[in-house]
């Protein structure tokens, strides 16, 4: 079931909130969490019983590993380590198997025999795999939150209770399919609170505000930008020449589409969870207003960034640092091992996580090199001197321009079907084309203006979390600066009639387009 489906918005979600609260009042906390697990299975079953089976098997295997890790004594460290590694091999083995079977099949059975079944990737597998992988590590370290959240897990009743609580944490439907990836230490304390299980007015107000904003971003902005981007990319893929305006229009439209689509989903997830009284981590914090790529990754898909950093970047960086300090070699070698190489690996893994395609690999290489370059530039004396003598406004303006142009081109890598298509699109943007153009829809000046109008939402308006900062709408991972324009920074959401009318108008506009129901772009990842 998609968040934008009326069946979700007008039936499943409200009934789920009511059922959850009733279960809590009648049977208590664990029953409410068990209800969440069942409701989440119903939500997920819409994508097929096979996928649901894979999800449940994954949960059972991880639960078994986590339970053993928690119950085995500390005097069998090798056995505990073996269980942890077995669980992680299962998690990432399954992820790699499902995500890259298409790529592997090219070499084993040949492209000609590939079909849709070969391509099928269980929806949300990346997200629930990451969440479970983090949980296993926490269980291995006997994290206090894990122990308190699961409670006593001995005996059949204890095991069943622990399983239901674990399954509810992994499956909680607002974050099951495309995240945000939640840590138990963010989830468990909220379950323990006295307000858990109650339908509270402020939660409904904040939740509906964020949910409505996400719905508008996805249905009105992202999907309409997609209708502009698609024919333009189809033309390039089909070998048709484009004017500079058309090519720029296509690249910008997809730039906006991807952002609104994914951040819209995250908003709807956070808003849905808030109706249950649960606060999820913020996943997007105005990333396209960033002033550089370092800033961007503190704002884009934040919950994936932190997981990758924790499990990949930090260990490789520490290993590199040890190697650098233990052996001979100058500062270049040290820098390479402790910083550059970990960063490049980090970004290539993020890229490959999206899929095994040349465009993603190129994306990873470009972003890795870009990140390294920016890190080094910001470490120079010249930069520091300039930072001390220049105004914040000037640096931010320049930073945005320097950031936005290459980022628009990088985003096009996600939409282009091949590197060749991407390269030609870039050529059409920058090289004046004099020949006869392919006629048909896509890429007029009027459409470019519409696209820029859509992007104006990003560049000039405060984001949802800026607007609702007074009521702490989500858990913050990084202490990002707000980039809301000064005269708008005082604008704050309030649960009053004006905001109600504004949001109701946004929902009404969304309902106008709701019948289309295109899937979220990140469902493919």
């Amino acid at each position: 079931m998609l968040f934008t489906d009326p069946a979700y918005l007008f039936l499943f979600l409200p009934l789920s909130v009511v059922a959850f609260s009733l279960l809590f009042h009648w049977k208590g906390r664990t029953a409410a969490l068990g209800g969440v697990f069942l409701l989440s299975c119903m939500f997920y079953a819409g994508w097929g019983s096979n996928y649901l089976t894979i999800l449940i098997v994954s949960i059972l295997v991880n639960w078994a590993c986590a339970h053993m890790l928690l119950t085995l004594p500390d005097d069998v460290p090798r056995l505990r380590s073996a269980i942890l590694y077995t669980g992680q091999v299962f998690n990432f083995g399954a992820l790699i198997w499902f995500k890259y079977s298409f790529f592997l099949a090219h070499f084993t059975i040949g492209a000609a025999t590939l079909n849709a079944a070969t391509l099928a990737i269980p929806v949300g597998i990346s997200f629930y795999t990451f969440q479970q992988a983090v949980f296993l590590v926490d269980a291995f370290h006997r994290n206090e939150d894990v122990i308190q959240y699961l409670g006593e897990t001995s005996g059949a009743k204890g095991k069943a209770r622990g399983f239901l609580r674990y399954a509810a944490f992994i499956c909680f439907f607002p974050q099951l399919v495309i995240g945000p990836i939640v840590y138990l230490k963010e989830f468990a304390p909220q379950v323990a609170k006295s307000t858990f299980g109650r339908i509270r007015r402020e939660d409904l107000e904040i939740g509906l505000f964020i949910l409505a904003a996400g719905l508008f971003k996805k249905v009105v902005l992202a999907d309409n930008l997609g209708e502009i981007a698609d024919p333009i990319f189809y033309k390039v893929e089909g070998g048709h020449p484009l004017s500079n305006v058309s090519a720029l229009c296509g690249a910008l439209a997809y730039y906006g589409q991807l952002y609104f689509d994914f951040s819209g989903y995250s908003d709807m997830a956070i808003g849905s969870a808030r109706l249950f009284g649960l606060v999820l981590p913020i996943n997007f914090d105005s990333p396209l207003k960033a002033v550089g790529i370092i800033d961007f990754y503190k704002r884009w898909h934040i919950t994936l960034t932190r997981v990758i950093a924790r499990f990949l970047y930090i260990p490789i960086s520490l290993w590199g640092m040890r190697q650098a300090t233990s052996g001979a070699g100058g500062p270049i070698r040290q820098h390479t091992l402790s910083n550059w190489l970990p960063l490049l690996i980090n970004f290539e893994v993020i890229a490959l996580w999206h899929g095994a395609a040349g465009t993603f690999i190129a994306f990873g290489v470009i972003h890795g090199l870009w990140y390294v370059l920016e890190t080094e530039i910001r470490a120079t004396t010249l930069w520091k001197r300039w930072r001390g003598s220049s105004s914040d406004l000037l640096r931010a303006a320049l930073g945005r321009v320097v950031f936005t142009v290459p980022m628009v081109l990088c985003f096009a890598l996600f939409r282009a079907d091949s590197l060749d298509t991407w390269w030609r699109l870039i050529g059409y943007i920058f090289i004046p084309y004099q020949g006869e153009q392919f006629t048909g829809r896509g890429g007029s000046w009027a459409e470019l203006l519409i696209v820029l109008g859509g992007l104006a939402f990003i560049w000039f308006l405060p984001n949802v979390y800026d607007l609702a900062r007074g009521v702490r709408p989500g858990i913050e991972t990084f202490s990002n600066r707000t980039y809301a324009l000064p005269y708008l920074s005082r604008l704050q959401w309030r649960p009053n009639a004006v905001w109600g009318l504004t949001m109701a108008a946004g929902v009404a506009a969304s309902l106008y387009y709701i019948g289309r129901l295109p899937p979220f772009l990140y469902l493919g990842f």
Partner: protein, 396 residues
């Protein structure tokens, strides 16, 4: 570098988030009230739409009165067109048959009293199959005209983008999506006792657009482009077909079973192969985007598919296949086409085709299919694009 601060997640610190800061005592929330009104309003409209059932999706729906032809993009209308609405001749077509308006069908098919033309732009096999299934189930039409477009060479599971398949499955939950501005307008009309129609849905509203488009294509630049494409592809389009009858899944699993069932029900089915210009095949081959839609070798593959069709319906009572491609006065002259695949909106051309159907001329059978295919192949391969309107005095 802040990425290293990955673990500064302060779940506990932000625990207070859940308590929010909107704790000031309030007696009512206008914000929630507006959302509640929106919620109940949506349910009210949905319940009314389902109860009235303007598209005749459910058993309790009232049989709609179809006023005009349909050839636009509001796809929800498909259900109504294939519904129990009182129609005796129903044309199920794609964009090439949009000009065969109900008025023309009634004029040139003498036995027709009430016709309806459902020609959907960008049709694909699966949505066509949904349509034909509904016709079998609901429509009282005794005479079905069905266009045999190139789309039948596509895989059977191909569906038009944005097609509302959710209206035609067994999942009632997704019927909540039926509420759209178009359906609401139809609903209001039906409640007021009006026929199921909206302005701009009939061909008259499109006619002017098509005529303008036709005029725009009648230029020497366009003519030279078509000519260049045909010459460039001449050696390629003659290559033998890469397909066998079993490869045409849409034909085998959708059209032929439909023809058999129509025949069994004792209704008349006339399958019309829309006349494409002889230049169309070369233009198609020359276009990468067109080639992506089908395997290349369009000419040989379409010819093979037509042979499979004729052999497939051979012996079925009341089922005929009509083709006009070898009428080179029509298909060899670009002045008769608004683009190489679409016949122009011309009364005489349509009259010729419909009268031929009425009189049973130009019928393909197992006996003459070989001759037809050989002649068409030869006509296409030896064709020099020609436009009688330009007549050597092209307009720029």
């Amino acid at each position: 570098m802040t990425i290293r601060q990955f673990d500064r997640v302060e779940g506990r610190k932000n625990e207070s988030t859940a308590s929010g800061s909107t704790e000031s005592p309030r007696t009512g929330s206008p914000f929630l009230l507006l959302f509640f009104l929106l919620f109940t309003g949506y349910w009210g409209v949905t319940a009314t739409t389902v109860a009235v059932d303007p598209l005749d999706l459910y058993d309790w729906g009232r049989s709609p009165t179809l006023l005009r032809d349909y050839n636009r993009h509001n796809l929800e209308y498909l259900a109504a067109a294939a519904s129990r609405a009182p129609v005796d001749t129903l044309l199920i077509g794609g964009s090439p048959s949009a000009t065969f308006t109900s008025a023309r069908l009634e004029r040139y098919l003498p036995e027709t009293k009430r016709a309806f033309n459902f020609s959907m732009s960008g049709v694909r096999p699966l949505d066509r199959a949904i349509m034909t299934d509904l016709v079998l189930k609901n429509s009282p039409a005794r005479h079905i005209l069905l266009t045999f477009d190139w789309i039948y060479a596509m895989p059977a599971e191909q569906m038009r983008g944005g097609f509302p398949a959710y209206l035609y499955d067994n999942n009632w939950l997704n019927d909540l999506r039926v509420v759209s501005p178009t359906v609401l307008r139809l609903l209001l009309g039906v409640v007021r006792g009006q026929p199921l129609a909206l302005e701009n849905w009939d061909y008259l509203s499109q006619e002017e657009l098509d005529d303008r488009k036709f005029e725009r294509t009648q230029t020497e630049v366009n003519y030279e482009r078509i000519k260049a494409a045909v010459i460039a592809q001449r050696d390629i389009i003659g290559l033998p077909s890469s397909k066998k009858c079993k490869d045409f899944s849409a034909l085998n699993t959708q059209l032929l079973p439909f023809a058999q069932e129509i025949s069994r029900q004792g209704r008349q089915l006339d399958v019309l192969i829309p006349p494409y210009s002889l230049a169309m095949y070369g233009v198609w081959e020359n276009s990468p985007t067109r080639n992506e839609l089908l395997d290349d070798r369009i000419l040989s593959n379409l010819l093979e598919m037509r042979r499979c069709l004729v052999m497939g319906v051979e012996g079925l009572e009341n089922v005929r296949v009509f083709a006009f491609d070898n009428e080179t006065w029509m298909t060899g002259d670009l002045a008769n086409f608004r683009d190489p695949a679409h016949l122009r909106n011309d009364e005489k051309l349509i009259e010729y085709i419909l009268e031929a159907i009425s009189a049973g001329r130009h019928v393909l059978t197992a006996e003459n299919i070989g001759e037809y295919l050989a002649a068409l192949r030869n006509n296409v391969l030896t064709h020099d694009p020609y436009n009688s309107r330009l007549g050597g005095h092209a307009r720029h």
